[in-house]
Amino acid sequence: MDILLLLIPVSLVIVGGIAWVMLWAAKSGQFDDLEGPAHSVIMDDDIPPRPDDDVPPANAK
């Protein structure tokens, strides 16, 4: 049981850390759009343009 004397304060520190991360996330706008990223992650950005295209891709960055 004595280990609790250490673990409880440690858990407090961890919760404090998580809280700090959450506040940072809220402040930096991580929660601004909760729907878009869920969709955008499954869209491939790197589909190569087909070589048989007549027109060269305009988005060559």
């Binding site: 004397l5 409880i8 858990s11 506040l23 729907e35 878009g36 869209m43 295209d53």
Partner: protein, 821 residues
């Protein structure tokens, strides 16, 4: 390369071969607009779709077509509007919505139109980001707003807007303004409060559970746990629960009792008592109850706030009605043109309004004659003809030919502004049924406080040592949690489900009232019909074929924006080209095709001696004459929506009486009513008549729901117990309405009624449970039979049950009405 596998996997939104590849509309026979995609050729319905699709595919973003989950609108943008994009580069116009970051770095907020699914966001982001000179672009899926940063020395803003319109979307710059900032800050704060409460709750529970279950826990550990819980609860109470204390304080100052009062009192007392017991080392702690209670209530409020915000977005976009820039004629009657921001116009200025442009202010026409669509202001689908001397209204759309207008009223003096003010007032005066629930809650709270005081006083006499604990027990066990959550939990879930079904709730009471609705009143224009003329019948005369006369008519009307012309052009494709076209406003058009002269238009213009076929179905007759010989009659009419019949039948089955009130002519309304089987209908109704009709129904004790789409419906919408605006209708109507239909599927209405009734049932179950629980728990706690941990578990279980019961609503599968969206 063979057809890509994605193409095979996503058949739903790759339209069939007979439908336009881009927008999914039927392709007219022989429309010469092929689209090349994945080594195959697909048809398109018009040049606009072809151009947009080819731009998307050629820039390497063809994956859009395999990923999209909804079909886009058919691209249509007036040439005039495209020409106007250049104006957005003028510094004085950029002033209001562009933020200058560094020397050349600019940032602007844009509203994107026509976004229908996540693939649209992806497409726009990629397309804009690929432009040279664009530094970054972010599009918010929820709000459909984009934030673009660009280098002004490399690309002008107009080029960015043009690129967006190339792929079939419309971007409007807008001034995010103060309300947006305030909302963003509020939402951020709410998220932070929620995060702190959630974390605190979880960890405090971790400490609390062993103290409830462990049998061999030493006092030392127990005290350590309560100290740790205290540390975690302090921020939850002082930061997360702050709004409740603030609300309770405001209530007390106004001498009312809201739900915030017992919440604040319960939280405050339980917390103070727990702190006292932590310091003194005896007694019970209630940190777990306190944090959980706060977290659950905050979650409810957060969801409510989001729903409200989405509902209000339409109001903000109202500002788009007035354009940013206008063409001033400073030396009128000389025609020197000057582009100025609308804000710089003065009363008495002359402005030139080209076809396709929106009128910047109220004024009087001094030169030119044209058809002006006031649909945005009146909901009336047909344009009104305007000539020198007639008044025009800011926000209406010029459709036919250029007008020179003298500005009479600007800004806050315009009719648009006054309509918005009227709406504001109508809304603030609207009686809220929700207020009744608040009053009932106030009584309950008052009673609860009285009981608590009596119990406290009684125990103070019997056993002063136990008094504080029993008072807290009463407050905790009766914790108005279940009672407070009963209604909002069901309402939030119900409204959420309803939104996914396509009915957005903008006022709290709407769902409640919809459930009790006995009468549904429709405004014909745009609610039951398409609000767009289409050719219903073609009667060729003198041995001509139907296709032949339709093609001739389409050729004569090819260049015109008039609704009749558009209907005729949609009806048939043509290989003819008309020359020497001459337009007589209000009558028709004359032109030459091949060897013959043709006239197309009103019967008295085309064939003064022949009367059109007399059929009382409310159609508009248009004649076509070849060298002064009548060769065809066209009947044009507004057609009912495909799903209107089934939707109305479903409503009748639910026991709701359906009425039709319309400002249109008797014949047209009668035709629609007959087709749809509506018995209660009234034609030629002015807004006042409609309002009187609704009041009469209400006088008979009926609960009236009004479905409308125009500003002329606004007073009626505000007068009905619950009002539903069509999402396709005007923004102003939506602002006044309690609910907004997001799609055009009328079946949503009956589904909404069913869901609303179900929500009502669940609210009653929840309230019944909460009351029953309290009736048992309060006496038990008052008599000192409830140990604190039972009080805590009882409270948690009772609120959990309420929430779980409410969640059943999210499983609601919609009504029995099915129809194509």
């Amino acid at each position: 390369m063979s057809a890509s596998p994605e193409l095979m996997n996503a058949p739903t939104f790759l339209p069939e071969e007979t439908a336009c590849f881009h927008c999914g509309l039927p392709v007219p026979d022989g429309a010469p607009y092929p689209i090349r995609f994945d080594a195959a050729t697909h048809p398109a319905c018009c040049r606009g779709c072809q151009a947009v699709a080819q731009t998307i595919i050629d820039s390497g973003q063809g994956a859009y077509y395999t990923h999209r989950t909804a079909l886009p609108a058919t691209p249509q943008q007036a040439e005039a509007e495209l020409a106007q994009l250049g104006l957005y580069d003028l510094p004085e116009i950029q002033e209001s919505f562009v933020r200058v970051e560094a020397e050349n770095v600019r940032e602007a907020a844009l509203i994107l139109e026509n976004i229908v699914c996540a693939a649209c966001i992806w497409l726009n982001e990629r397309h804009i980001a690929a432009l040279p000179g664009v530094l970054s672009v972010e599009i918010n899926y929820a709000t459909r707003r984009a934030r673009v940063r660009w280098d002004n020395s490399r690309i002008p803003l107009s080029a960015i807007l043009k690129a967006v319109s190339d792929i079939g979307y419309i971007a409007h710059p807008f001034d995010p303004g103060r309300s947006d900032d305030i909302y963003k800050r509020e939402r951020n704060t709410a998220i932070k409060r929620l995060a702190i409460a959630g974390l605190g709750m979880m960890q405090v529970m971790m400490y609390a559970l062993p103290t409830y279950t462990a049998t061999d826990m030493t006092d030392e550990i127990r005290r350590l746990m309560s100290w740790a819980s205290l540390v975690l609860t302090i921020p939850v109470v002082l930061y997360s629960a702050w709004p409740f204390f603030l609300g309770a304080w405001r209530d007390l100052k106004r001498r009312t009792l809201g739900m915030d009062v017992p919440v604040a009192l319960g939280v405050g007392t339980a917390f103070v008592a727990s702190v006292y017991s932590t310091f003194s080392g005896h007694g019970e702690v209630y940190y777990d109850s306190v944090t959980m209670f706060i977290f659950l209530l905050l979650t409810g409020r957060f969801l409510e706030m989001n729903a409200r915000r989405r509902a209000g977005a339409a109001v903000e976009e109202l500002v788009k009605l007035i354009p940013a820039a206008a063409t001033r004629l400073p030396d009128w009657p000389a025609r020197t043109e000057q582009q100025v921001p609308v804000a710089r116009l003065a009363v008495g200025d002359h402005v030139l309004v080209r076809p396709g442009e929106t009128l910047p202010a109220d004024g009087t026409v001094v030169d030119g004659s044209s058809a002006v669509s006031e649909a945005m202001l009146t909901g009336e689908s047909l344009p009104v003809s305007k000539s020198a001397g007639t008044k025009v209204v800011g926000g209406s759309l010029n459709q036919a030919s250029p007008l020179v207008v003298r500005v009479d009223k600007l800004g806050a003096d315009t009719r648009l502004a006054s309509i918005v003010r009227l709406l504001d007032r109508a809304q603030s005066e609207k009686p809220r049924i929700g207020q009744l629930a608040d009053r009932a809650a106030a009584w309950f709270v008052g009673l609860l406080l009285v009981i608590t005081v009596i119990v406290g006083a009684a125990w103070h006499v019997i056993d002063p040592g136990k008094a504080l604990w029993i008072v807290v027990s009463v407050l905790v066990v009766t914790c108005p949690c279940a009672l407070g959550l009963a209604t909002p939990a069901a309402l939030t879930t119900g409204t959420g489900r309803l939104t996914r079904l396509g009915l957005l709730t903008t006022r709290g009471h709407a769902l409640e009232t919809l459930a009790r609705t006995t009468d549904l009143v429709f405004d014909k224009t745009g609610t039951l019909t398409h609000g767009q003329l289409s050719v219903r019948r073609v009667l060729p005369q003198g041995g001509r074929s139907e296709n032949e006369v339709a093609a001739l008519a389409a050729a004569l009307e090819a260049g015109s924006e008039h609704p009749i012309a558009r209907a005729l052009c949609r009806h048939a494709s043509t290989q003819h080209t008309a020359s020497e076209l001459r337009n007589t406003p209000g009558l028709g058009v004359e032109g030459r095709i091949g060897q013959h002269r043709y006239r197309l238009g009103a019967p008295r213009y085309v064939a003064p001696d022949t009367a059109p076929p007399d059929e009382a179905d409310g159609a508009t007759w248009v004649g076509l004459a070849e060298d002064a010989h009548l060769i065809a009659w066209f009947a044009l009419a507004d057609t009912p929506r495909a799903d209107a019949g089934t939707a109305l039948a479903e409503l009748t089955r639910l026991g709701i009486r359906v009425h039709l009130l319309s400002g249109d002519s008797e014949a047209a309304v009668a035709a629609t009513a007959r087709q749809l089987g509506i018995n209660d209908w009234h034609a030629g109704a002015l807004p006042e008549d409609k309002l009187a009709y609704v009041k009469t129904l209400q006088g008979q004790g009926r609960i009236v729901a009004m479905v409308g789409d125009g500003i002329n419906d606004a007073p009626v919408l505000a007068g009905a117990q619950v009002s539903i605006a069509m999402g396709e209708g005007t923004d102003v109507a939506q602002a006044a309405a309690d609910m907004v239909m997001l799609g055009s599927r009328l079946g949503t209405l009956s589904e909404g009624v069913v869901l609303a009734r179900k929500t009502q049932k669940i609210i009653r179950q929840n309230l019944g449970w909460a009351l029953g629980y309290n009736l048992i728990a309060i006496p038990a706690a008052a008599l000192g039979h409830v140990t604190p941990w039972i009080a805590g578990i009882g409270m948690s279980a009772s609120s959990l049950l309420v929430v779980l019961n409410a969640l059943r609503l999210s499983e609601f599968k919609g009504g029995t009405v099915s129809g194509k969206p």
